[in-house]
């Protein structure tokens, strides 16, 4: 079974003719009066089928709120939210999510966790086993099928969580800082694997992170969010083909660009919240102190 056959049977059978996964957010607003949960104001965003969109921003900008709205865990107060023309209402396996803390069920094995959604959907046992086995192979965890969640490493847990979400053949895959808790080596490894899976399945992905590096590595489009209230500040298009070389100078350059955008945003927020700014000395400051000495020479 190929990756596409496992995770996107519709795609494999129709050769990509019927592309699904068009996610449209129109003027979405959400408020949480009297709560620390970040609000969103007038957010509009369209994810085309098969597009990898990364939302990046400082903590408290409402990235997770945005994702939870799409997941159907929250309902917007204003605006329209549609997936392939259908209004989003409540959680549904057509919009599966990979959580930061994996959210795997500790009483089930890796394979049983992946099979869970199929079981709920009433997929017959034999077919379920077949799809689970293929899914395990795709995330390179075949030998860990019968391990319990606490017996898996952090990276393996996230791979199971990705397989659990993809095995449902969702129209859109939501990812909420899925690699934030991993070490740098594992993160890079998972970035590579995710790219491989995404290229093969051509899923629409909405990915949320605070890591600019991660955003530029993975995304077709990087959306920077404003905070207080959350608004879209700017969009960057990453026109690099997949799979990417993460160490390429183009990526490094784009990271610098996006990071500058976010630093401005962080400084603005900190200034707003009356926090004292800590600014490292820039070379220009250092120069000024040495002016007298330089002049003497």
């Amino acid at each position: 079974m190929s990756l596409a056959e496992t995770f996107a049977p519709a795609l494999a059978s129709s050769n990509g003719a019927s592309r699904r996964g068009r996610l449209v957010l129109e003027h979405i607003s959400k408020d949480f009066p009297g709560s620390t949960v970040p609000a969103l104001r007038d957010v509009s965003l369209t994810c085309e089928p098969g597009e990898f969109v990364v939302v990046v921003g400082p903590s408290g900008c409402g990235k997770s709120t945005l994702l939870n709205l799409v997941a159907g865990m929250l309902t917007p107060e204003e605006g329209r939210l549609t997936l392939d023309g259908q209004a989003v209402r409540g959680p549904h396996p057509e919009r599966t999510m990979v959580f930061q803390d994996h959210g795997l069920f500790p009483w089930l094995t890796a394979a049983q966790n992946i099979a869970f959604g199929l079981k709920m959907a009433g997929v017959p046992r034999a077919k379920r086993d077949q799809r689970v086995e293929a899914a395990l192979e795709m995330v390179h965890l075949r030998r860990s099928a019968d391990k319990l969640v606490h017996e898996l490493s952090g990276g393996m847990r996230q791979r199971v969580a990705i397989a659990r979400a993809l095995v449902m053949d969702p129209a859109v895959l939501l990812m909420d800082e899925p690699f934030a808790a991993l070490d740098a080596q594992n993160r890079t490894l998972l970035h590579e694997q995710l790219q491989e899976l995404w290229v093969a399945t051509q899923k629409t992905v909405l990915f949320v992170t605070h890591s600019v590096n991660e955003a530029v590595r993975l995304g077709d489009r990087v959306v920077v969010l404003h905070a207080h209230p959350g608004r879209i500040r700017r969009e960057f298009r990453v026109g690099l083909p997949h799979p990417r070389n993460f160490d390429s100078p183009e990526i490094a350059q784009l990271v610098r660009l996006v990071r500058r955008e976010i630093e401005d945003e962080v400084n603005r927020v900190n200034a707003q919240t009356d926090e004292e700014l800590w600014k490292p000395k820039t070379p220009a400051d250092l120069d000024r102190h040495s002016v007298g000495m330089g002049g003497g020479i």
């Binding site: 865990m73 959680p91 959580f99 803390d101 959210g103 069920f105 500790p106 009483w107 869970f116 017996e151």
Partner: protein, 247 residues
């Protein structure tokens, strides 16, 4: 009445070593002195009392688990119900279980149902409260993950919430058991019903000023309580914790 202190003093007057010897005699009939009347092990009142108490315990505890489990689940699900019943249950937990005996007699009479009533009342509050607290401790993430994967309505309970509450349920069982065992023995001590349980045996020991019997029955009570806790409930709890990776 006047002879009770005297009668109580009598075996102690014999000295504790003798009492100890008699105690061993009650516990292990074959260890009795040769001149003592011999009795077959299986017809020994102690064995019968154990069986009677054991059956009552199992029946009553199962009723407690069902009632306490359902109520704990309901109190977790409907916060209004919890606001109403939660403080009442906490208050009732401070009531020693033998205090349910008079109500049990007046409601059911001096019979098996009266004993079971005391046992259930003495233990199911603890199970309900422990289960409610355990359910509250389930990470909301599990519920979200379940909903996302299509577990709705009763399926969310059957496949997500109930399995997720297993560690809490295991500890609530362990706690509920000790409550049940204590309540049962208290009820048997006071209620003299047709079948004689361990508590009744303790009462006869008192009535016949048989310190050896009293001590022996107490030892048996403690042993059964401890063994059930160690061999059944602690093992169950450990198994669940192993599965969940809780240490």
């Amino acid at each position: 009445m006047l002879n009770i202190p005297l009668a109580l003093g009598e075996p102690l007057h014999k000295g504790w070593p003798l009492v100890l010897e008699d105690t061993v005699g009650v516990l292990i009939p074959s260890a009795r002195p040769a001149n003592a009347p011999s009795r077959h092990v299986f017809t020994s009142p102690l064995i019968i009392a154990n069986l009677v108490s054991g059956v009552r315990l199992i029946v009553g505890f199962v009723i407690s688990i069902v009632l306490g489990g359902a109520l704990g689940l309901a109190m977790w699900r409907w916060i209004e119900l919890d606001r109403l019943l939660g403080p009442v249950f906490l208050g009732l937990q401070t009531l020693p279980s033998v205090c349910w005996v008079p109500l049990g007699i007046l409601t059911f009479g001096i019979n098996e149902r009266g004993v079971l009533f005391v046992l259930v009342m003495g233990s199911f509050f603890a199970i309900a409260i422990a289960l409610r607290d355990g359910l509250r401790g389930i990470p909301p993430l599990y519920q979200r993950a379940g909903l996302m994967l299509g577990a709705r309505g009763w399926r969310l309970y059957r496949y997500v919430l109930i399995p997720a509450s297993l560690p809490a349920f295991a500890s609530s069982l362990r706690q509920g058991f000790s409550f049940a065992w204590r309540s049962l023995l208290g009820a048997e001590l006071i209620l003299a019903v047709e079948h004689k349980g361990l508590g009744f045996l303790l009462a006869t020991g008192r009535d016949f000023s048989d310190v050896a019997k009293v001590v022996a029955v107490m030892i048996v009570m403690v042993m059964i309580g401890m063994l059930a806790d160690r061999w059944i409930f602690a093992k169950l709890q450990a198994a669940v914790h192993r599965r969940f990776g809780l240490e």
